[in-house]
């Protein structure tokens, strides 16, 4: 069965890259441009994996992850953090918020697909 990935990123370039890469690998992709829109997108959906950026307007990645984890319907959805920061402090903060794993931009396409597959149930 086709799996669905929600990507949340304020950069259109990054959204397009994620969409192209994931769709090429057979995923259904839904997208949102910031945390609030991400929560909006989750209202009618329960994706198999969420990929989110950290630095975003309106609601950043930390806020978004926390909100998803608070929602019992979505608490079990794996969330991958996608950010240019390779630095551990951000990663730890994302983990503390409830992130499942992380991918550092710029990502290798195979690496992205591999990680998404690895965390998807």
């Amino acid at each position: 069965m086709t799996q669905t990935v929600l990507t949340v990123d304020d950069s259109r370039t990054m959204r397009d890259m994620l969409r192209v890469t994931l769709e090429d690998s057979g995923y259904r992709v839904i997208q949102a441009a910031d945390g609030l829109l991400g929560l909006e997108a989750l209202k009618g959906e329960k994706p198999d994996v969420i990929v989110t950026d950290i630095n975003m307007p309106n609601m950043d990645g930390f806020g978004f992850i926390e909100a998803v984890r608070r929602d019992s319907r979505l608490a079990g959805v794996p969330i991958l953090v996608l950010t240019t920061e390779s630095d551990a402090a951000l990663k730890n903060r994302a983990r503390a918020a409830g992130a499942t794993g992380w991918i550092t931009k710029p990502f290798e396409q195979t690496r992205l697909v591999d990680v998404v597959r690895r965390v998807a149930a």
Binding site: A33, P57, A75
Partner: protein
């Protein structure tokens, strides 16, 4: 990914860069004006961050390098470790200009001279204190594929450069480093064979993994089942589940973690392969991974290994979650792969970001992002052309029905009216698609202001108003050059030097104001300065000197001011590098005219000058009055017509030999014989008494004239078809259109007609005009 897709992504990236650069500049200007709220600073940070992120994906290393320095400084500011003082803000604004230059160089694939950004990068790094720009010893150029020296991010997680990849293996304290806080084992685990020597790792055999998830692992949506599934990819796997910790059902917390797994995988992959599976949850579980040699090798394993590797089961116990207040247990803290940089950033207070997040969440409710799609401009243009055809077709249909019997049928005429209404609405909606705010254009001007201010040593503040005013995209694009020129002029020629300003009792800093507004179906843009104003004596002298105007000409103040629009006029004695690039105000005027726009100048000595541009909202349609002139059907743009009046003999007065004026409410207005001006008749006819209608028009500078036509047929929207593209430029004619009956009608260029008529009337006065 195919090349097409890549090219598409690249284009998206550069489009996005433009938007981010605009955001960046807006934010920086707000910060310069004292905005300190975290949302502004965050938005600025994000803009640079996005550019860097995308640049990394496309391996635009120069861009990444510069953006990195910029971003680092912004991060310091948003974390309150660096104060955004005037000097820093100035450097930041210059950095935004340089970033724009680097983006455009990257877009064009141009090589970038390091001098362009190096100095500024060092300067900004200097503000941050510790972090230096990449050392000259490790220059980062566009051709250098590895900016690893100081921009580790882009490379960090790509598989190749091991040096920068925080692989868990390399940094994780090995379990044996843990203090042997041995507790009685609840699990009966088979004792493990000692690990084989590293060189034996590939020699077949198995991996033995002891894995006990903690609650945190599940809370982060990692899943033991998924992890086991991944492990199974390594080879044939047998798993023994340890249920010894599981409570009875009534005591079972569904969110609890009770299971342990003893996993055996037949594989020749090494521990690293298994450890990667646990990359995201190593800190949330007790984990021991051990390579088991093939049975034959097992027997021969050196005893030394046994000493170095204690029984995994014991280790697993030692790894049991320690109470939070227990003395630091190195294994529990398990900093899996923190690069050295962690120390620096870990000290960063999380509060500002958190506060920003809350503020943002509150704000977000008020400013929901508008849903937009991006459409290829060609498609919109095609749509506009089609709608133009539709308008013409609808007019033709209406005309055809009028002549037929159907006109008497109310259903037909009612339907036609509705069609007319719908067509108009469709047309307006389509036009709205092309409409764009002037903001990006205004933002470009703020850069021009900075550059010219620096070059001239003048102090200038740019004030913009109405930047959200929307205009057709084509108009916006074609305004860039004239506007740039006028802004340069306003600073270079308009504003006085700081010393002169102080002497004149003005503040040292000059103000250039750029405003836009919609006014009666047109957009009006004004560029004003509070400088010295036009020096009329000088302008007049120059115009006489250059033979543009007769020495004894009687000119009003407004006429003198507008002399600067004449071709070949330039007020600066020495041509400066800024304004005097061979482009005069005549070129500006011509570009504005090409947009069916008008331009005029008002000036007050000592108080400054004001240029006013009046432009159509769109170049595609026009509200026009269809008139008959000497048997020809013509269209006069409604925007130019103030009112229409009958040629009542009592209001006409002869003026000179071949001219006449008509009495208006507040004076006399010169009469222009349209047919004669267009060459339909060889001579002007002194009108009077005979039938005809006067169109009272307002032209550039506010002067009124009465265009005489034979009759008014209709008032309607017409689709503009360019004559210049299809035929050539005709003086007095702006464009053409196709009427309902399929015939072509010319659209009058009222300003040109008036200027021509007046020029002819005052031939000796303004030789060059017309």
């Amino acid at each position: 990914m195919s090349n097409d897709v890549l090219a598409q992504l690249r284009q998206t990236f550069f489009e996005e860069c433009d938007e981010q650069l605009a955001e960046l500049e807006t934010g920086l200007l707000q910060m310069q004006d004292g905005a300190t709220d975290s949302e502004t600073v965050n938005a600025v940070f994000r803009a640079v961050h996005s550019v860097k992120g995308g640049a990394g994906a496309f391996k635009l290393t120069t861009l990444v390098s510069f953006a990195h320095v910029f971003e680092t400084a912004l991060d310091e500011i948003r974390s309150d470790r660096l104060e955004a003082g005037p000097a820093l803000m100035k450097a930041m604004l210059r950095a935004s200009d340089v970033l724009a230059d680097l983006v455009s160089a990257a877009r064009n694939g141009d090589d970038v001279d390091e001098a362009l950004w190096r100095g500024l990068a060092d300067e900004i790094a200097g503000f941050c204190g510790k972090e230096k720009a990449p050392s000259p010893a490790a220059p980062v150029s566009a051709s250098d594929p590895a900016p690893a020296a100081f921009a580790p991010q882009p490379m960090a997680f790509t598989p190749q450069p091991m040096a920068f990849t925080p692989q868990p293996m390399a940094f994780t304290p090995q379990p044996m480093a843990a203090p042997p806080a041995f507790t009685p084992q609840p699990m009966a685990l088979p004792s493990l064979a000692p690990a084989p020597a590293a060189e034996d790792a590939k020699a077949g055999g198995a991996l033995r993994i002891l894995f006990r998830p903690r609650v945190e692992l599940y809370e982060k949506a990692n899943d033991a089942v998924v992890l086991l599934r991944e492990l199974e990819r390594l080879g044939a796997m047998t798993v023994t589940c340890d249920l010894s910790e599981a409570p009875l059902l009534d005591a079972l917390d569904p969110h609890g973690a009770y299971l342990g797994f003893d996993i055996h995988i037949v594989t020749d992959r090494d521990e690293q392969a298994a450890r990667e599976v646990f990359e995201f949850c190593e800190e949330d579980c007790d984990l021991v991974i051990r390579r088991e040699a093939a049975p034959a090798a097992e027997a021969a394993a050196p005893a030394a290994h046994a000493a170095a590797a204690p029984d995994p089961a014991a280790i697993l116990n030692a790894l049991r979650p320690a109470p939070k207040d227990a003395p630091a247990d190195p294994s529990a803290a398990a900093p899996a792969a923190d690069p050295p940089a962690a120390d620096k950033t870990a000290a960063k207070p999380a509060d500002p970001a958190r506060a920003a997040e809350e503020a943002a969440a509150q704000r977000a409710a008020a400013t929901a992002a508008p849903a937009t799609i991006r459409v290829d401009l060609d498609r919109v243009d095609r749509l506009i052309n089609l709608v133009g055809e539709l308008v013409i077709n609808q007019a033709m249909l209406a005309q055809a029905v009028q002549g037929a019997d159907g006109a008497r049928d109310p259903a037909v005429s009612g339907g036609l009216d509705e069609l007319d209404q719908l067509t108009r609405e469709i047309q307006e909606s389509v036009m709205a698609i092309r409409a764009q705010p002037l903001k990006p254009l205004f933002q470009r001007m703020s850069r021009i202001v900075r550059e010219v201010a620096d070059a001239t040593g003048k102090k200038v503040r740019l004030v913009t108003e109405g930047e959200w005013t929307e205009v057709d995209k084509t108009v916006v694009e074609r305004l860039a050059d004239p506007l740039t020129h006028m802004i340069r002029n306003a600073i270079d020629h308009g504003l006085e030097s700081p010393a002169d300003r102080l002497a004149a009792g003005k503040p040292e800093e000059g103000v250039v104001r750029l405003s836009a507004a919609h006014r009666s179906g047109r957009v009006v843009i004004q560029i004003s300065d509070d400088g010295a104003g036009v020096n009329r004596d000088k302008v007049r002298a120059i115009a006489i000197g250059k033979g543009l105007v007769a020495a004894d000409a009687q000119l009003t103040e407004s006429e003198i001011d507008n002399l600067i629009f004449l071709p070949g006029f330039s007020t600066t004695e020495k041509i400066s590098a800024i304004s005097g690039r061979g482009v005069g105000m005549d070129v500006v005027k011509r570009s504005i005219h090409a947009l069916s726009g008008r331009i005029f100048l008002k000036s007050k000595r000592g108080h400054g000058s004001e240029f006013t541009l009046s432009l159509p909202l769109t170049l595609a349609v026009l509200d026009g009055m269809v008139v008959t002139v000497d048997g020809q059907t013509l269209v006069a743009p409604l925007s130019a017509i103030v009112e229409t009046m009958s040629l009542d003999a009592g209001r006409l007065r002869a003026f000179g030999a071949s001219n006449a004026v008509i009495a208006d409410r507040d004076g006399f207005v010169p009469i222009i014989d349209t047919a004669a001006e267009l060459g339909f008749r060889p001579h002007r006819r002194v009108v009077g008494g005979d039938k005809g209608v006067a169109l009272l028009v307002e032209s550039e500078g506010g002067g009124r004239s009465a265009l005489v036509v034979d009759a008014i047929q209709d008032q309607r929207q017409v689709v503009i078809k360019s004559l210049e593209t299809n035929y050539g430029r005709v003086p007095g004619v702006a464009a053409a259109t196709i009427l309902g009956d399929g015939r072509v009608a010319l659209i009058l260029d009222v300003d040109a007609l008036v200027a021509r008529a007046r020029g002819a009337a005052s031939e000796p006065l303004l030789a060059a005009a017309g």
